[in-house]
């Protein structure tokens, strides 16, 4: 995850680069060259990640992106070949799928970085929040479109408690128009990166181990699920890869869960389905220098057990879902977030956020 991206950079750093390394505000491309760079980042950039940066003369950054893309492709082949050659054999699929999925994640991160980097001038990019509050509360609404179920409207609430590297997050989704509720409690430890009530982190890079339990009651359909899981995730500020990639970040994570089904008849755990968890994200920070405001992230999530589930119709059940999320702070205490996800169902919504920034 974060370690993988650091490794491939070839210049792994324990701290972010000196300010302005590789960045020359006076060397921004002309409008025409920037336009050409954006187009190049799409074609042939969709296949040659870094083409946009290369076009605008930021060749070191371009080479770094291309190298990471290559490693992602290698991981995809390394993971995909055993699956193809064995016909998705039951004994090799798990490990192979994780490797392949992370490879796809690197691929997605490098391409989006190239497009964003070609599009947005360095001076206009945001910065991460160097520290976190010890308390955040979210209250909001979600709309879920899934014609196979009766529900559509949900009240969403979450509480996030942080102390140093420890994080506790209880969260609920309660249907307003059906007997359906999803409750999740997550506990995590962040080894490094922005933490609560500590000195500022050098950037947004972090590594975190989490464990969660989710209970989901489908009372109308008369079943429920209980899912314990373990997940390790990380974020790498791409400025660590190269200064020209400042303002962006990549995220990778994987884990495993066990989904226990309760059909109000057979004993709980009659069906105990292993769950492969993987999430790949790319995003950018909002706000100007020294005034971080928030962030936007696009992601792929391999989960099949939440409201959105995995893609159907043109798929064979294996893919997960995609999503876009953003959060922003209006002032020291209040902000909002928004989310959109698409898979077997579609979900969209937003929440008001409150944070306690007192020391």
């Amino acid at each position: 995850m974060a370690a993988a991206l650091l490794l491939v950079s070839g210049t792994a750093q324990a701290s972010p680069p000196e300010q302005d390394e590789g960045v020359d505000p006076d060397g921004e491309p002309s409008a025409g060259l920037r336009t050409l760079s954006v187009l190049t980042s799409l074609v042939p950039g969709a296949l040659l990640h870094g083409a946009g940066h290369f076009t605008m003369g930021r060749r070191d950054a371009a080479y770094r992106l291309f190298a990471v893309q290559g490693i992602g492709f290698g991981m995809l082949v390394l993971g995909g070949l055993p699956i193809v050659l064995t016909g998705a054999n039951r004994y090799v699929t798990r490990e192979a799928a994780v490797i392949g999925a992370l490879g796809v994640g690197l691929w997605a991160i490098t391409w989006q970085s190239d497009v964003y980097g070609a599009l947005v001038p360095l001076a206009a990019r945001g910065e991460p929040e160097p520290t976190l509050s010890h308390l955040e509360v979210e209250v909001g609404y979600r709309y879920v479109h899934d014609p196979r179920f009766r529900y559509a409207s949900f009240a969403h609430s979450a509480l996030e408690l942080r102390s140093g590297g420890l994080r506790l997050r209880p969260e609920t989704m309660v249907a307003l128009d059906d007997a359906n509720r999803r409750t999740r409690v997550l506990a995590a430890y962040r080894f490094f990166g922005p933490r609560a009530q500590e000195r500022e982190a050098p950037d947004g890079t972090y590594l975190e181990l989490s464990s969660a339990v989710t209970h989901h009651a489908y009372r109308t359909e008369r079943f429920a699920t209980l899912t314990p899981e373990v997940f390790v995730s990380g974020r790498l500020d791409l400025a660590r890869l190269h200064g020209d990639l400042t303002g962006m970040f990549g995220e990778l994570g994987f884990g495993f869960g066990l989904q226990l089904f309760d059909y109000e008849g057979p004993p709980l755990g009659q069906d105990a389905e292993a769950l492969l968890l993987a999430r790949m994200g790319w995003g950018f920070y909002l706000g100007g220098p020294d005034t971080p405001v928030g962030e936007v992230v696009s992601y792929y999530d391999h989960r099949h057990d939440d409201y959105v589930g995995g893609f159907t119709e043109l798929s064979i059940g294996v893919p997960g879902h995609i999503g876009f999320a953003g959060r922003g702070w209006l002032n020291d205490n209040f902000g909002f977030n928004a989310i959109f996800e698409a898979g077997a169902a579609i979900m969209a919504g937003g929440s008001l956020m409150f944070r306690d920034t007192r020391p």
């Binding site: 998705a88 179920f149 359909e221 769950l275 099949h304 893609f311």
Partner: protein, 360 residues
Amino acid sequence: MRSCVFILIAVTAACTPPSEQRAELDRQVGMRAGGGVEIAVDDGLAAVTHLDEAGARLWCSAPELVIRLRSDASRPFELELFNTMRDARIVAIGAAGEAMPLEEEDLGTATRKRAMLDLSAGDNVIHVTTSDHGDRAPWRFALMSDVQSGIGEVQDLFRAMNAEEGLRFLLGAGDLSSDGTREELERFQDELLGLRVPYYTTLGNHDSPQAGLWQEMFGRGNFRFVFRGVQFTMLDSASATVDPLAYAWLDGWLDEGLSRVHLFAMHIPALDPVGVRNAAFGSRNEAGKLLSSLYRGNVAMTLYGHIHSFYQYDNAGIQAFISGGGGAYEERLDGYTRHYLVIEVGADAGIVNTDRVAIE
């Protein structure tokens, strides 16, 4: 204005999920009009592949059918039944309720028959039954799915099935073809001439790309039939989901099947026994919904394809089998080769026995 309507229809069709398109097309299966004749097969249990003033051809999806023919005039009529039971018996009732004489002939193969009759003006009813209709003693059927690129060797499986004692029909859980083209599906129907029992099947993800082709050639993707007191429900899960319209049908079929031995089959399983692979429903929660319904519907056995191997497990406490051994690219290193299942079942005895028959 007309071009705007066409564009709207095209856009709507493009936005309509394939599973919904197929469910809507299922509604039309078994109904056709032409040449002064209207035909309707009860419950859509046959595809009307040809109809004109002189005759009709049906591809049967069940052992027993009720076919309603409305004719605007008395006329000689030739009814061809493809994919029918070897011992199918055809009884025709005219518009006045009278039994109509008819001449039957085999079409050179065990599963194709022709009946020549004189339709009366008005509503005629054709009953297709079997010699063992109503017999509640145990009997046997086979299950085979996922042929695809193995079509060239499918006769190996058919020869083995032909040698099985007492098989009444072959049940299928989809993926007959690799790409779902007309040529491939026609090839499969031709290969079925080598099988001495009919093949009643739903479709798989490989059979579904061309909207409407399956319904035109094979019939419904979602259907149910009862044979010798045992109910079979076939559901279209080719899109790793089931359409809401099909769920509405399923509710009624599960109610009907509460007092029967009830077997359920679809292509993509609700849950993959190898959870981390998830070659199953895209949504685990939809899987839970379906399995909860099947459990409460007292379903005795669930049968799936899609995974090119053999798995025996339980889902929601119901016996489950994945049998994808029809010849498609196999799951390697699993110890299984091409195979089919033979299941013995009885209306009173329930599931008596299940055997896997391997073909080297």
